[in-house]
């Protein structure tokens, strides 16, 4: 029932200025099928934790157990996450090629995924630079889900996008989650987005988790002062309610 378990994870980065404690003893548990949010401001360690769970970085101490090898990722910057020299067909098919699937199977899965992410016709022959940020992010999502991962890590997937596109992408992710029951780790600095899409959330600050719980509970009755400050600040983006 548990997809990801972290116990006492620590990660330090050494630089000329000294040692930065990116992660200072983080423990959390992500249950299978949940849409788990990791929220915090820049430098809190959420991206570092995401990379450790993905296996891109090794922790300095602590335990990380991921119950599946089928993990995929969607990154923040749609202009950086797709190989500019590859056609969309190859980008989407890469995960399947690495697994050694037949061309026939690849073409089939590509068709299914293309319609799921609403790719325009003829897109497969094009290159990333011919698409907008939102479209590229959809391609990145397509690339991630085509191999049927059991765990999907999304690192600020909508932060670089316009608000109307953000909604599209979030709805797409929600849709995929509903249809496949995939476990999602959603990293973001934006509480509003977390509220929209996640069921559970852990709040991070300076390398530690300061509060965790269901999204509903956190919003209704947060206890940690940092969480409260975040909630208050997030409300600044809300439209002033007179007349609505």
């Amino acid at each position: 029932m548990t997809m990801v378990r972290c116990e006492g994870v620590k990660k330090y980065f050494k630089s000329k200025a000294g040692t930065v404690k990116a992660l200072d003893g983080v423990s959390l548990e992500i249950r299978k099928g949940s849409f788990f949010g990791l929220v915090g401001e820049s430098g809190c360690g959420k991206t570092t934790l995401g990379k450790i769970i993905l296996g891109i970085i090794e922790p300095d101490s602590g335990q990380v157990v991921v119950e599946t090898k089928k993990v995929q990722v969607v990154f923040q910057d749609p202009y950086n996450s797709l190989d500019p020299k590859m056609k969309i067909f190859d980008i989407l098919a890469e995960g399947l090629i690495i697994k050694g699937e037949t061309l026939h199977a690849i073409k089939n899965k590509l068709m299914i995924v293309s319609s799921l992410i609403n790719l325009p016709i003829g897109a497969l022959k094009k290159y990333p630079h011919q698409f907008s940020g939102g479209e590229r992010q959809r391609i990145a999502i397509g690339r991630a889900i085509i191999t049927r991962p059991e765990l999907l890590v999304c690192d600020e997937p909508v932060s670089s996008l316009d608000v109307t596109i953000q909604l599209q992408i979030l709805r797409l992710l929600k849709d995929i989650h509903k249809k496949t029951g995939i476990t999602c780790l959603f990293i973001s600095h934006d509480l509003k987005v977390i509220k929209f899409i996640c069921d559970h959330v852990a709040v991070m600050s300076r390398g530690k988790i300061v509060e965790r719980g269901s999204v509903h509970d956190i919003y209704a009755s947060a206890t940690h002062p940092y969480t409260k400050a975040l909630l208050k600040a997030a409300a600044y983006d809300n439209i002033k309610n007179d007349g609505i």
Binding site: D162, A233, Y236, I239, G243
Partner: protein, 269 residues
């Protein structure tokens, strides 16, 4: 009374084989003492509009038409004149003193090789003609006014030693020191963490109330704009799609683009 009247502003970009109309016939007025917001998504032309007010557009872009009249009712100096027709020397007298601008990226707005104090003092001296000692006093006064803790120490710090929020406060102080009549804020909080954003917005509200300045506030964030501005204009693909008093636009949007924009924002509340 208006502090700024923008009429038929056009900013075009020359790309091989075509002309991109980044700002396409934009007109609006900013009332004295009020906060005017321009809201739009990326590529809408809002930042270019702000930059063209002070003729800060560089090639391959160029201001292809329109006028920007500063203080239309007054008559002396740069008042009542079309800023777009001023020469560089007169413009320099306007930039940083009569009209100042706060950019999105505090990191790139400060020169990394000079201290914060040196840069603020420089703009005071060049516009107010006072001596170094008096300039330093004025600088410190404003650094305090933007609630920078230990202003005396920050005065001697270099930009890279400051946090994003402190840098942005320093930028705002620098924009205020010469008592401008109009301040342009281009996405002043977008690059900051959410908790710092809230602090800076509080600071801006306080300054707006105290100093009775006229403000042009540019943002992609409808929520922030509606909180800070008296009237707003919605920009899309280089044009103003809808404009009016904030309350009215929020409660009764007319144009389809505005409606869809508001819907997306509300969906994420």
């Amino acid at each position: 009374m208006n502090v700024l009247e923008v009429k038929n502003l056009k900013v075009y970009f020359n790309a091989p084989g075509q002309i991109v109309k980044a700002v396409d016939d934009v007109s609006f007025n900013i009332e004295k003492g009020k906060v005017f917001g321009i809201v739009g998504e990326s590529g809408s032309g809002k930042t270019l509009t702000a930059l063209s007010i002070l003729k800060l557009i560089s090639p391959p872009g160029n201001i292809a038409g329109g006028s920007v009249i500063f203080n239309p009712s007054a008559g002396s100096g740069s008042n009542g004149r079309d800023l777009l027709k001023l020469n560089e020397e007169s413009l320099r007298g306007v930039r940083g003193s009569k009209i100042s601008i706060v950019f999105q990226e505090p990191a790139s707005s400060f020169n990394p090789v000079f201290t914060i104090g040196e840069q603020i003092v420089e703009t005071i001296i060049s516009h107010q003609g006072v001596d170094g000692g008096k300039a330093k006093d004025i600088a410190l006064e404003y650094l305090n006014r933007v609630h920078i803790h230990e202003a005396k120490r920050i005065f001697y710090d270099y930009p890279h030693q400051l946090s994003g929020g402190t840098k942005q406060r320093a930028m705002i102080a620098m924009a205020l020191v010469n008592s401008p009549e109009l301040i342009i804020l281009d996405e002043p909080t977008t690059a900051l963490d959410v908790t710092i954003q809230a602090q800076i917005l509080d600071l801006l509200k306080e300054i707006i109330e105290k100093e009775r300045l006229s403000i042009l506030f540019i943002s992609h964030d409808f929520g922030i704009v509606s909180r800070m501005c008296d009237s707003i204009a919605v920009m899309h693909k280089g044009r103003i799609v809808e404009a009016g008093i904030t309350k009215d636009i929020l409660s009764r949007p007319n144009e389809p683009y505005t409606i869809s924009l508001l819907e997306s924002v509300k969906a994420l509340l």
